[in-house]
Symmetry: C2
Subunit: 350 residues, 2 copies
DNA sequence: CTGAAAGCGCTTACAG
DNA sequence: CTGAAAGCGCTTACAG
């Protein structure tokens, strides 16, 4: 399909291309990078020579002579085993890459155990000039990354509500509104005892959802609106559900809202295991809405969310920052209620 | 925690560190990289100066002056939407990174639509010297990456059986043996009509599993040992299962082996939807065995596989290649049968 | 044990 | 429109 360089041993450099095309190195650079200052015939000759030799400019050399490095960083501080089953991240990464690919940029990915480790990685990447900026996720309240990375001068955009992300440019889903909608929907179906299986308490977005849940329940006059924290894993989702459904019948929740879809899937099995029918005895409402929600029986109702587009938007905002612009600020689309088969009015007998 | 450089504007270089430590640039380099030729007191002074200024050597400059670039590539040619739910990849990536992290190396990740696009990405990365090598996954039969990347001279290790990976150093799970074990186990339970819901037919490992499945069925004298191809998605797993279970009762399979766990989860719902009890009416056996298998009711029996360790092993073998060594060759641990609740002897009445 | 110099492969002013 | 030169920030022989 293309001509391999053939020459074993040495890899071609700009000098070889210049020699083959019969021009100076400077001309090759201009021609190859589409800059003015070179005739079209010369440009064509250079491109042909480069392709014949299988040459592309060394990124290191380009960066060293002033070009911005075309790599951006993403560090995820969650246990590896858990990430495998969080459909969120792969979709989010795909979205980021869909944008980066159009800008000849690449994603440097790292999975770490905790936030201090993340800071160390971001710092090392930045100081050694391996990345030009980063996308930050999973903000804690008073997140230590904010002062640390700001001091470093690392360009970054954050996934999270402005109340969490310091002064960083950010993008977020309006989780408070989505939670409110979810609870109102369940209440409108007739549920009075609604519980929530939340994610990791340390995350700021978990706190935002918990607060919105409690507030909405209060506004609607719902009693016993319990929230249970987990680590987002299926195992803890199951445990939390078991705890909730083991309550005496008169105080047992008739509807449960989950913070992701994996835990909702686990909840479905727990309900069956305890002899409760979904949605007759208990309604289940998932979050994020990956493909998983449509593989269960009954299919899971969910707060559905365009994770791929979310990733793409973050990448776009980071590129804007890197180009010296002011990125759009504001939330992306609010998760939208997608009723399927796991939510219904509570049974009369309950 | 650490002293920010403070100086807004310019980032420190080796020259600044040399000046602060009162030595030459060469001495800073030797000291910082732990080379001999510098006294311990000088080394300490250099380290202190570097840390005070927040300096780390520029990767670009290091690479340009001969150091190997510490980045390795991974390109996954599968639709993004599908990756989100393949627990395999995140665990695999985690495993790779667990090794790279110990060698100050990083993972450059790219998701693409097809193999030609992957070849283009690998070629661009290699020519521009952004990676020192790659881990290749999802081999097709007669995979076009083999000649293309070999011609390039890209150091690579492959995930796949030697019959698929050309002459590339590789690592693989012995899927043929695992499939054989799976089928023998189901037959030993008393099943005579065993079907298989396979992955994407284009992949070499799918073909290996299909062949082993057919051979074992023949050896055991099983009739109607059907294999159905899918794209690994839950939706197609459901469709395939529906097709199999819709057979007339006398020819309907009493056991189904899946090529991943997502499809097995989907199969579980389909069985329920069709009024068939698992495992009474049909046994289901998953592959890969992520956390998902333990969240269903019944819990899924699976061919369990240390995906994290698999990724780590690939990374180790690639590093060996990059260091000029000959990597260990041979399979990693064979997936091991992990019986749970979804497999049992077939009901008498069937 | 240390310092001055060359060179890695580009890009970018700066002359022609 | 083109060519020769400087410089990016390191590392590595090579003298002292």
């Amino acid at each position: 399909m293309s001509l391999p360089a053939g020459e074993p041993g040495r890899r071609p450099t700009i000098k070889d291309v210049a020699a083959l095309a019969g021009v100076s190195k400077g001309a090759v650079s201009m021609a190859f990078n589409g800059r003015p200052g070179v005739s079209e015939t010369t440009r064509a000759r250079v491109i042909a020579a480069a392709s014949q030799l299988g040459w592309a400019p060394s990124q290191s050399a380009r960066v060293l002579s002033g070009t911005r490095v075309n790599t951006i960083g993403l560090v995820i501080a969650r246990p590896a085993r858990m990430l495998g089953l969080e459909p969120f991240y792969m979709e989010f990464i795909s979205g980021i890459e869909s944008v980066l690919a159009d800008h000849d940029s690449a994603l440097l990915l790292r999975l770490v155990g905790d936030v201090p480790e993340e800071i160390a990685v971001q710092r090392a990447w930045w100081r050694s000039r391996q990345i030009s900026g980063s996308i930050l996720v999973d903000f804690l309240s008073d997140d230590p990354r904010i002062p640390a990375l700001t001091a470093l001068g690392l360009p970054a955009v954050a996934v999270g509500h402005p109340s969490l992300t310091g002064g960083l440019p950010c993008a977020w889903t309006d989780d408070a509104t989505a939670v409110t909608e979810a609870v109102r929907y369940l209440a409108a179906l007739g549920h009075r005892r609604i519980a929530r299986v939340g994610g990791a308490a340390a995350f700021g977005h978990t706190a935002i959802r918990a607060t919105a849940f409690a507030r909405t329940a209060r506004e609607l006059g719902l009693d016993q609106a319990r929230s249970v924290d987990t680590d987002f894993s299926g195992a803890q989702g199951a445990r939390a559900t078991r705890g909730l459904l083991a309550s005496p019948a008169g105080s047992r929740p008739t509807a449960i809202l989950y913070d992701n879809d994996l835990m909702a899937v686990a909840g479905l099995s727990v309900a069956a295991e305890m002899g409760l029918a979904v949605p007759r005895d208990v309604s289940l409402l998932a979050w994020d809405d990956s493909q998983l929600c449509q593989l269960t029986l009954p299919k899971l109702s969910a707060m559905s969310h365009d994770v791929f587009g979310f990733g793409a938007e973050l990448a776009r905002r980071l590129l804007t920052v890197l180009n010296g612009g002011t990125p759009a600020t504001g939330p992306v689309a609010t998760p939208v209620l997608t009723p399927r088969e796991s939510t219904a009015p509570p049974a009369r007998t309950t």
